[in-house]
């Protein structure tokens, strides 16, 4: 599987559009000309019918003009198919890689109560079967580990080569078929039905095999279909009017555009194809496929397009504190001394006592002492004759005995007890500092020392803080501007939660959250008509994931969680929820922008085609030919060519999505209207004129 990074590099290298990609997809594009499948796209289906019609006319009354128009009409349909084929092509490549992971492995099934081992093909495994997998073997199907612990290589699915630990019980018990056990032995209970494994579903998803139109896509299709009907009527009903007008202005000579039988079939079809919203009609399904694909590039699998669309509408984001908003572990943020102790003394003692503490918290103290107090990090070997006291869960403190000096650091209660046990009397200000830190949501660690046989004394307190990830505040501000409320979910007490919520800049928090609380919060938000997105990994998250409108399950999570959510994040990065929302929005914006562009294009096409058709009988109408196009035939052909080329030109935009910068609704609308509305009016005037400048030299056109 390609990593997102590699993909984005390829995009840059490919410039606007990699021609190779187009070429590779051409056979698929031609296959899609089959009317049996094309009718699903009413706009392009009409173009195809028109192309067939002009082909017949061109055969009956051949002319350069007729054949060129016919060719470009066919190209219009092919270009539309090409857009879809290119979008699908990316998914197909992805599916290919996945299929390789799905090689036919043999499973070692354990049968009966006495667990007799037998070999069966992986495909024959049933729900509830028990299999055993050892180092070097491929896990035959999705399941939960019920015995043992193993490191597993999941790169086949996630693209991440670092192995992950899978163990029985808890939230890391899920294993995926097709991944490889690297060490140890596990017993797995299969949780999938044959042919419905996670990989099977992934393949189906990225291939878009059973891609269904999303609600918004359906609505847009209805609008496009009605616009198509309106233009169909406008063009079809023009004919009797044209015949009549030609009849009364009989002096005008017959031309390739207009004769006694009215507007010629070729021109009528050209006008229709130029007017109906072919640009958006051609790119609509590519936009949808590409939206899903952009998620896949970020290693997120959406189980349905509907979920991606819903992501754009999310009003409330529920974010777990740990790992999403804050770094996974608390870190030293401050050294607070008691009376009579200098900061340097405290820093020295804190560092000494933490040298043997390999926990992330302990490391952070050493780092803090170095960065803030300029204390060089000492290696344990430097201190001759030192006795190291490592941190254990029982003692809840660590430290060192060196040269008759004992230094200890640890949980407040444990260290205070140590001080008292060694004849010291912790002053009351230690207690005050400890309480203050706790109240602010931090974790206090007391540092104490004892020199020789004298009484022990407390030197000060280390303030361990939750560290909010960099840039989170800005992202939440951005969310707020987009109208999305962020709610932090944490198991901490309300005081701690409030402090972190304030620092991170979230709108609200849910403290001491139980799964039931989460569920209640989601339901409450939804009752007010809001859409809720959340991430989760544990089995107890499953109901909430199912209830949320967008539920992103972490790939490291349990299979229950993955089953309940409508997206799976293969990187298990909860921050990604924010990106998912942005992709959802980008998908809708791209549709809206190209619809606007498509309709705005029609204005210029009228200025090209109407004078081309009727200036012969009503010379005044030539005033509408403001582009001063060379001749009626070159004007009509230019419009048709422009109409086809614009589809190809916009394929990269459809695949990439329009540029998305978070902002208020008004600023986004203003920018998009300016670019795609005003731009959509102006661009075709220039494009058609340029094409006309070239094609007027084709014999038989000018």
């Amino acid at each position: 599987m390609t990593t997102p990074n590699a993909l984005s590099q390829r995009r840059v290298a490919g410039g606007l559009l990699d021609p190779g990609q187009l070429w590779k997809s051409t056979p698929d594009a031609l296959r899609k000309l089959n009317p049996g499948t094309l009718w699903r796209n009413p706009v392009m289906f009409i173009v195809e019918i028109g192309s067939v019609f002009t082909t017949v006319l061109a055969v009956l009354h051949p002319s350069v003009f007729a054949w060129l128009i016919t060719a470009w009409l066919w190209l219009t349909v092919v270009f539309a198919n090409l857009a879809e084929a290119v979008a699908e092509g990316r998914g197909k490549a992805q599916a290919e890689t996945l299929r390789r992971a799905k090689t036919d492995t043999l499973a070692r099934r354990l049968v009966g109560t006495d667990r007799v081992e037998e070999q069966v093909p992986a495909a024959a495994l049933q729900l509830g079967d028990i299999v055993v997998v050892e180092a070097g073997q491929v896990i035959p199907g999705d399941g939960d580990v019920i015995e043992g612990i193993a490191s597993v290589d999941e790169s086949a699915i996630t693209g991440e080569s670092a192995p992950v630990i899978r163990e029985s019980g808890g939230d890391r018990s899920a294993v995926t078929g097709g991944t490889k056990v690297l060490s140890d032995r596990i017993v797995v209970k299969i949780t999938q039905r044959p042919g419905e494994s996670f990989i099977d579903r992934m393949i189906a998803l990225v291939e878009g095999a059973n891609r269904q139109k999303t609600p918004n896509e359906i609505a847009l299709n209805i609008l496009l279909a009605s616009l198509t009907i309106i233009f169909l009527l406008a063009v079809a009903t023009l004919q009797p009017l044209a015949i009549y007008s030609k009849g009364v202005q009989a002096f005008a000579p017959d031309s390739l555009a207009l004769n006694g039988d009215g507007v010629t079939g070729i021109v009528l079809v050209s006008l229709l194809v130029c007017l109906i919203p072919t640009t958006i009609g051609a790119l609509l399904s590519a936009i949808g496929i590409a939206g899903m694909d952009r998620l896949v590039q970020r290693n997120v699998l959406a189980m349905s397009g509907r979920a991606v669309e819903a992501a754009g509408d999310v009003n409330t984001l529920l974010l777990d504190k740990t790992g999403t908003i804050t770094l996974g572990n608390r870190q030293a943020g401050e050294f607070l001394t008691v009376d009579g102790v200098t900061p340097a003394e405290l820093a020295d003692a804190a560092q000494l006592s933490s040298l043997a503490d390999e926990t992330p918290e302990g490391r952070s103290i050493v780092v803090y002492a170095k960065t803030v107090h300029g204390l060089r990090e000492r290696t344990p070997g430097e201190l001759g004759g030192a006795t190291w006291v490592p941190f254990t869960a029982q003692t809840r403190m660590s430290g060192v005995d060196v040269g008759g000096r004992q230094v200890r650091k640890g949980a407040a209660i444990a260290v205070m007890k140590w001080v008292r046990d060694h004849g010291g009397h912790p002053t009351s200000d230690v207690g005050e500092i400890v309480d203050a830190i706790s109240a602010a949501g931090g974790t206090p660690l007391v540092v104490a020392e004892r020199v020789g046989t004298g009484p022990a004394r407390a030197l000060g307190v280390i303030h361990l803080k939750d560290v909010v990830k960099q840039g989170m505040r800005e992202r939440f501000d951005e969310m707020r501007r987009m109208g999305i409320r962020t709610v932090m979910i944490t198991g901490d007490n309300p005081l701690t939660a409030a402090a972190i919520a304030k620092e991170a800049g979230v709108d609200d928090f849910l403290a001491e959250a139980t799964p039931e609380d989460k569920m209640a919060l989601i339901k409450r938000e939804q009752e007010g008509g809001k859409l809720v997105a959340m991430t989760g990994d544990g089995t107890n998250d499953a109901p909430a994931l199912a209830q949320a409108d967008v539920g992103v399950a972490m790939n490291t999570g349990t299979s229950a969680a993955k089953e309940a959510g409508n997206m799976v994040d293969l990187d298990s990065d909860p921050t990604k929820l924010i990106e998912i929302v942005e992709i959802g929005k980008q998908l809708l914006i791209t549709r809206g922008a190209l619809t606007t562009f498509s309709i705005a294009n029609d204005i210029a096409k009228y200025f090209a085609i109407i004078p081309a058709m009727f200036a012969a009988i009503y010379p005044g109408l030539d005033k509408l030919n403001i582009m001063r196009l060379d001749s009626p035939t070159s004007a009509i052909l230019s419009a048709v060519i422009f109409n086809a080329i614009v589809i190809v030109a916009l394929i990269p935009l459809a695949l990439r999505g329009v540029q998305y910068r978070p902002g208020s609704a008004a600023s986004m609308l203003r920018r998009n209207l300016l670019v795609y509305g005003a731009g959509g009016v102006i661009v075709p005037f220039i494009g058609i004129k340029l094409i006309d400048l070239i094609i007027q030299f084709i014999p038989g056109i000018s």
């Binding site: 609008l223 009605s226 309709i599």
Partner: protein, 553 residues
């Protein structure tokens, strides 16, 4: 005061008057349609027709009520005309011919008031008063009722009910239209509009010739003709006739009567959805389109070239000297912008491009401000379509006033958008394609084509004004235009009520910073642009062979 200054004063004073009544009259209408109380007279009506005024209807029942009421109205009005010779005050006229009677019945029930007859030589006073004038009231009330039902769809949530048609109908007639009509008629009589039951007075003129001075209950019909955006004149000459519209200030009053209900209805909308700015935005969209159109038509009429118009300073042909070019042009713009169709000048004689503006006004779908009620619901449909595209561009599933615009809503809105262009274009194409229909045309070429296009545009959009130049009292035109009026009125009404039902069912989406603000200038501008672009794209090919061919040189 020069004629241009007079024109500007006329338009500006009208605008100021409309701004002044927007709030008080809008609020009055809001209270009327949302009140819980029934007056004794209303209760009597409900008991007589067997309606429970407390019960509400789903959109389907509401739509069936509208259709049933209108069907019976058409039938009764048809019979009324067919037996008028047996009735009191028939003035000795024969029964109206079947195809013309059908056309007229449909025309008045659909609020179109297309007239293929001359009132003074066809209809007796009783048919005018008890038949046509009654429909002027009820057809207007139907339009307002449907608009109110749509607004209820936006305002309500999680319900299937959109109101009670019978209650809406009775209240709008009794509490809104009748009181204003009484005041308006009194003012018109004061201005010189006739009001009697005379069958005509024969006089000998100074030159010794005999002349019949017609009379009739004109003022009472005139006022509702304007107030209900009906437009069917008592006389054939309509508001150009001195007995219908005697002076400059009655001309002003007539335009005010035409405009003030459609322009105040957005206030009702704003109040009902609980955000007055939304109402103001809709009124703003209507005003921008209307002012643009009035300015354009005045400019084209006043600046017209050519020998005679240059000599007299403007295109005076077909205008009444007591109104002048500008006030005729303004009347022409407003009557076509509002689905009224009353005329005080001859649109056929307008400059080609000026005449095209009157057509474009109707082609907008009668939304700026449109007919009573129909203008509001038409504009809301356009707003829904615009919201859909604009909503996508801000990255959310589109929503308008907290209601999601999904495939069901878009289906209703798109079909609405499709209906009138289909009727206009197909109708015109058939009329231009059939030799029988073409034989009705008196003018050849581009102008003749404009006349046919105008007729179908007017009928399908329920305007009712005519470009003339074609003999429309033929079986083909009476039938075809009758069908256009019927379908152009009731298909949209069904679709609007369907939309109301589907909106009312939804739970509202809360507003957030990511929500498109549908009252900001940007959105207002976008609706204006969408409306104009869609109309131009739809009709430009046809217009190119009619007024454009004639007017662009």
């Amino acid at each position: 005061m020069s004629s241009a200054e007079a024109g500007v004063t006329f338009i500006a004073s009208l605008l100021i008057a409309l701004v002044l009544v927007y709030k008080p009259f809008g609020d009055y209408m809001y209270r009327t349609v949302t009140s819980d109380r029934h007056s004794r007279a209303e209760r009597l009506v409900y008991r007589a027709v067997g309606v429970n005024p407390g019960g509400e209807q789903s959109w389907g029942v509401y739509a069936r009520s509208v259709l049933a009421f209108s069907a019976i109205s058409i039938l009764l009005l048809y019979l009324f005309q067919r037996v008028q010779n047996h009735l009191w005050l028939s003035l000795g006229f024969d029964p109206v011919a079947p195809d013309q009677a059908w056309n007229t019945a449909v025309s008045f029930v659909t609020n179109t008031n297309w007239q293929s007859y001359s009132g003074e030589s066809t209809m007796g006073h009783l048919v005018q008063m008890a038949g046509l004038a009654v429909q002027n009231f009820t057809s207007a009330a139907v339009g307002i009722a449907v608009a109110v039902a749509l607004v209820r769809g936006f305002a309500r949530s999680k319900t299937t009910e959109v109101g009670n048609f019978w209650v809406d109908l009775v209240r709008i007639c009794v509490r809104i239209l009748l009181p204003v009509a009484v005041i308006g008629a009194t003012l018109l009589i004061a201005g010189g509009v006739v009001q009697n039951l005379s069958g005509g007075t024969d006089v000998t003129t100074l030159a010794g010739a005999g002349q019949s001075i017609t009379g009739g209950p004109v003022a009472s019909q005139e006022v509702i003709k304007e107030l209900g955006t009906n437009g069917g004149g008592f006389y054939n000459a309509n508001s150009a006739h001195p007995f219908e519209n005697p002076t400059g200030w009655t001309n002003w009053l007539q335009l005010f009567l035409i405009l003030f209900i459609p322009f105040s209805l957005p206030r009702v909308f704003g109040r009902m959805v609980g955000d007055k700015r939304q109402g103001l935005a809709i009124a703003g969209i209507m005003a921008i389109l209307a002012i643009g159109s009035v300015i354009a038509i005045n400019a084209l009429q006043l600046a017209h070239g050519g020998t005679v118009p240059t000599a007299v300073g403007a295109a005076t042909e077909g205008t009444e000297t007591r109104f002048g070019v500008s006030q005729s042009a303004t009347f022409g713009a407003i009557t076509t912008l509002t689905s009224t169709g009353a005329v005080n000048s001859f649109h056929d004689s307008y400059t080609s491009l000026g005449g095209m503006i009157t057509m474009l006004n109707m082609m907008l779908g009668e939304v700026a401000p449109g007919g009573v009620g129909s203008g509001l619901y038409g504009m809301l449909i356009l707003a829904v379509i615009t919201v859909f595209v604009a909503g996508l561009m801000v990255g959310r599933t589109p929503e308008y006033l907290g209601k999601k615009i999904g495939s069901r809503e878009i289906k209703f809105a798109s079909l609405y958008l499709l209906t009138t262009p289909a009727l206009v274009l197909v109708g015109t194409a058939i009329a231009m394609g059939s030799a029988t229909a073409r034989s009705s045309m008196a003018n050849p070429g581009a102008h003749g084509l404009s006349e046919v296009l105008y007729a179908f545009t007017s009928a399908s959009n329920n305007n009712g004004s005519a470009f003339a130049g074609i003999s429309v009292n033929t079986t083909f035109y009476n039938t075809a235009l009758g069908l256009c009026m019927l379908l152009g009125r009731f298909l949209p009404i069904i679709l609007v009520l369907g939309l109301a039902g589907s909106l009312a069912r939804q739970a509202p989406v809360p507003q957030s910073a990511g929500t498109l603000r549908t009252y900001q200038p940007l959105f207002i501008g976008m609706v204006v642009a969408v409306t104009v672009v869609v109309v131009l794209l739809t009709y430009l090919p046809a217009l190119a062979l009619g007024p454009l061919a004639e007017g662009v040189r």
